[in-house]
Symmetry: D2
Subunit: 143 residues, 4 copies
Amino acid sequence: MIGHVTEERIRVRYGETDMMGHAYYANYLYWLEQARGAWCRARGFTYKGLEESGFKLPVVEVWVKYRGEVKYDEWIVVRTWVSEIKRSSLKFEYEIVNGATGAVVTQAWTWHVLVGPEMKPVSIPPEERARMERDPAEWAAAD
Amino acid sequence: MIGHVTEERIRVRYGETDMMGHAYYANYLYWLEQARGAWCRARGFTYKGLEESGFKLPVVEVWVKYRGEVKYDEWIVVRTWVSEIKRSSLKFEYEIVNGATGAVVTQAWTWHVLVGPEMKPVSIPPEERARMERDPAEWAAAD
Amino acid sequence: MIGHVTEERIRVRYGETDMMGHAYYANYLYWLEQARGAWCRARGFTYKGLEESGFKLPVVEVWVKYRGEVKYDEWIVVRTWVSEIKRSSLKFEYEIVNGATGAVVTQAWTWHVLVGPEMKPVSIPPEERARMERDPAEWAAAD
Amino acid sequence: MIGHVTEERIRVRYGETDMMGHAYYANYLYWLEQARGAWCRARGFTYKGLEESGFKLPVVEVWVKYRGEVKYDEWIVVRTWVSEIKRSSLKFEYEIVNGATGAVVTQAWTWHVLVGPEMKPVSIPPEERARMERDPAEWAAAD
């Protein structure tokens, strides 16, 4: 399954670079998180709202392949989709593209588990699953 | 002197919060930096370009007054202006406004010194000063 | 009032630098926070314990003067003391010293307000005040 | 090949947590970096010195499996070893252990490529390789 792709544009901050002159490897994980927020929003809901309804979706595994440099003040585009949904977990995949050249500069995935208020895994409810499988083209984005 | 104000909208990231439930106090300084980048851009130049021409503008002093909570997923607007320009230094002032309510949630200022390649203070060249004093309304923004 | 000084040694991380080659200005605020934690610990309690007992001590104002460079892999020493205690607020002051040369590279202060579970200011209880005014030499440090 | 393990103790900062109440997933990557610095140091050299001699060792791939919660003020121990050295690349592996319980809370690995001043991959020189393969027990740690 390859879900619909959502794109999020992000400009690299000075404080996200390190003395090597490009973005520090940990900061990419902030961008993936921002992109997941946009992915929800494109499907008419927010991750904040998901938490307010009693769920959380912590990251349990992450993989990132840094293929090239990402530098200060550049626009990057994070392309995000869900590639797998299991009983209580799901996998996001990502491509980070240089906004100017279109070159893929990073590939990544993250696995998440849906947990309830006690931080225990719970089955993804049908209505949550339906939202995750939505075609954004058919939905108004959340604010 | 109160320079023209530039506004930058920023959405608060999950990773910018802490266990107290709102944005961690250090992360506001990233937002101020992003807002300074937007301030340059609105005047037709970029901070990146300034560095490429051999200058740097490090922060030498910062003050922030946190007036209220800033939370995950909220839009904030950072209003930025230059209030003072000396021989080799300048002062930025900021108001951070809650994007939904318009309430001022933070006030801040930063002092910066213009330094050359040796990291020694240098006089602000007239052409740099002119760019800093531009009315953005009369200039095309940099990309 | 100048309270007893507590020192905390910290080694600068690579990810705390930026492309200018030294520590990014926001990261100093993490070090101040770590130093406050050490300050509590030297007086036989922990900030974590303070939160567990229903209080929080958010930062409401910060000032930092960056006097010189702090670079990757250097040891810094954060010297921390409380200079003022009011009804529901207190002020920490800091000097950051280069661990190798002893030079003061940064000065800073932060104001904090004691709040209860509702995030409303509360009077500092006498027993909390007593802990804050302790002479660490007379107390076993918390683990 | 399983190289000698180096352990680095780190106390979790408040600013490293997020509103979920435990450490934000990106911050683990700072700890891995600090642990690699300690790994070098235990073998009598520093990563800083490696860069000063004209090399860099950027991360090209990272994988992290978050097995449990890491919370504010806890001691964690990062156990680090090199499991593979190729012509111009090497793999670090890590276990993050809760300092109080000894439970493994995270597993991770990172791949790095040795690059020269032009950021192009270079063969790992024999003397660098020898340092990487050292038994720390036979060397005085770098300061």
